[in-house]
Amino acid sequence: MTMFKSMSKSARSTFTTYAMVVVAYVIVQILANGGMITNSLTGQLVPICAYICLAVSLNLVVGISGELSLGHAGFMSVGAFAGVVAAACFSSSVPNDALRLILSIAVGGGCAAIAGFVVGIPVMRLHGDYLAIVTLAFGEIIKNIMNNLYVGLDSAGLHFSMTDANSLGMSGGTILINGPQGAVGIEKLSTFFAGFILVIFCLFVVLNLIHSRSGRAIMAVRDNRIAAESVGINVTKYRLMAFVISAALAGMAGALYAMNYSSIVPKKFDFNTSILILVFVVLGGMGNIRGSVISATILTILPEMLRAISDYRMLIYAIVLILVMLVSNNPTLKGAWANLRSRLRGRRGRPKVAAAEAAGDAPEGGDSDE
């Protein structure tokens, strides 16, 4: 506890985030071993992990880099299908399941990163809502391409076609991606443990990035582009960096997701899924990584919890969404919450800098944490 107290504010927050994820994992594992969790929850563990990764990665673009992206599912899709193809290709050469999963996730991430780079170059010329529209457009283009993509594997290697399965020119072998029918017969390699590791990996990448020179440059561009340029930051480079890393992580999450189901279809990765991920990010708080983790978890479980009210389920979900936004932006409640927090902090013996600052006095003691 003393060690915890002596950490800097950001280090403490980072630590809390990791600790939260690890503790949640351990609790779920213990409960699962005791047979104490439902099939329903068990079935959602891997998708929850995937959504956490997606939310965290999108937060890098939306919260940290400050660009509204409406096509995140596109990168998830690229990663998912690339991962599935990779897993099939490695099936004979890499007999170890875990290793094959890792390789497939890496391939998924890599392909999504390439897609992110290709998409990012034109996108980075735009700003604000125009950028949002172009990401939406790319998401739709990726979906349309996936709907027409046929991939087969036979002894001669991989075959690709954009017209139909017959034109793959296969001799024996299997069709891995079959246009709108997607990929079927996927080997279910993903496990909750793998999902947990991927979540930790995403947190590791994003949190470390934020607290590094590159991450600060990304945030500087968000806060004030012209000022960032004027201190010598290459704006395009850092916006692109955030975009590509985010795409790569989304691709990894996509691969994890795909290999949790025996089949996936391109339609799954549409605009609605992009929006869903965006909802996680906004509800969790822009730039708030821990918030993304929590909201992705809760919002994935929520519709399942609401099954009891059947017909009114989605209606209630919509109302919950609206109410959360209204409540979290209510000035009275916000003030009360801030009060509570500062009181809690005061009890912990933290200097209450903010208040003193607001009054315009210089603080007496130093407050440098590091």
Partner: protein, 382 residues
């Protein structure tokens, strides 16, 4: 939900305990019509069976999947928590493919009313004769498989010489539609039919069909094959009419529902042909009583999804009775016995969607498609 559970009937003879029957399908979102129809159809069967008071009665629980494979698997797990012993569903193909993998590994008996892709049952060869997904021995279909419909349609068109120059409009973002389309084209070639125009659309562009229709018209197509659902089909009929293009229209089971579309000008559908196992205005008493109950309970006309789903429940009931299954068995035991019952050579089922239906161990149903043509706003056998 549709759980009309009244578990008060826990009499001492174990055989009258209720079976927990689960159903899955979209009741919200864009595909909600199909799931809702399945839910209602099954519910009617469950209620009838209960009212009849036999030994086999069901407790029915239908869960929404929003036409999303992930949600569908969630719904399946949720039903398992409820204690489901038999599954009828999911309604739509992509979710069903995902769920069938789960039921297969759990060994839960699954009979889908309407998911028609061969990926659902597995074990079917693709175009090259490869089997990409092994047979899921616990999964059966009540509807025709997509290739089946494609083949049957091409054959039918050839046999009846319905058209010489054929145009196709299919839904490129839909598994069902592409599945039929693919098989149809290869079978048409084999039959020597000439396909002059092939165009597609996606769920996102399912409003304007002028380009597709123009293409068909300009290539002189005299028969338009539309392996799609009736909602976009109604738009195609309307737009063809507006542009004064009058080919023959030929559709598959997805087209059923066209005539009962509220507000639809049925004269537009005059002469439309379709292969479907069920029509709501069939004159047999079973169909008529089903239709009138459906109208009474759900304020609408049942389509083929509802009928398939209704049949599913009765088929399961018949198999349970035949195999002497009791509700206190575990779902795996039930599954093994049901599989045996369904594939038994002497198992024949008469339902709304066909008579003398049998199932092979591939999971496919064998029933006769009925060629129907719309005349004076009603279906008439061809």
């Amino acid at each position: 939900s549709g759980s009309s559970s009244s578990s008060s009937s826990s009499s001492d003879s174990g055989s009258t305990a209720t079976f927990k029957l689960g159903g899955i399908g979209p009741v919200t979102g864009a595909a909600a019509i199909y799931g809702t129809a399945c839910k209602n159809g099954a519910q009617i069967a469950v209620d009838e069976i209960k009212a009849a008071g036999g030994d086999v009665i069901f407790d029915f629980n239908f869960q929404d999947d929003e036409h999303d494979p992930e949600k569908s698997v969630n719904a399946y797990n949720n039903l398992k928590d409820w204690g489901m012993q038999i599954l009828t569903g999911p309604t739509t193909t992509a979710p069903c493919v995902a769920v069938s993998a789960e039921t297969n590994s759990d060994n839960m008996f699954e009979l889908t009313p309407s998911a028609s892709s061969t990926d659902v049952i597995g074990g079917q060869p693709d175009a090259d004769g490869n089997v990409s997904t092994p047979r899921k021995s616990n999964v059966f279909q009540m509807c025709f498989t997509d290739p089946n419909q494609g083949t049957a349609s091409a054959k039918y068109i050839k046999e009846q010489s319905l058209g010489t120059k054929i145009a196709i409009i299919y839904n490129n973002s839909d598994t069902y539609s592409t599945g039929i389309f693919k098989k149809f084209t290869s079978e048409a070639q084999a039959q020597g039919l000439e396909i002059v125009s092939t165009t597609s659309f996606t769920d996102d562009t399912a409003t304007d069909f002028s380009v597709q229709l123009n293409d068909a018209k300009n290539n002189g197509a005299d028969l338009l094959f539309i392996p799609i659902y009736y909602t976009p089909a109604s738009l195609i009929l309307k737009q063809a009419d507006t542009m004064g293009y009058k080919p023959k229209f030929f559709g598959v089971d997805g087209l059923d529902g066209l005539l009962t579309l509220e507000g639809f000008d049925t004269s537009l559908a005059e002469g439309v042909m379709l292969l479907t196992p069920f029509t709501a205005d069939a004159t047999d008493s079973a169909t008529q009583s089903f239709v009138s109950t459906y109208k009474k309970d759900y304020d609408g006309t049942p389509n083929q999804f509802a009928a398939d789903s209704y049949d599913c429940v009765y088929a399961i009931k018949q198999a349970i009775e035949k195999a002497g299954i009791t509700a206190d068995m575990t779902y795996t035991d039930i599954c093994d016995k049901l599989v045996a019952a369904f594939t038994a050579s002497d198992f024949k089922f008469d339902g709304l969607t066909g008579t003398g239906m049998t199932w092979s161990d591939t999971g496919e149903v064998s029933k006769d498609p009925k060629g129907m043509v719309i005349k004076d706003g009603a279906y008439v056998s061809m």
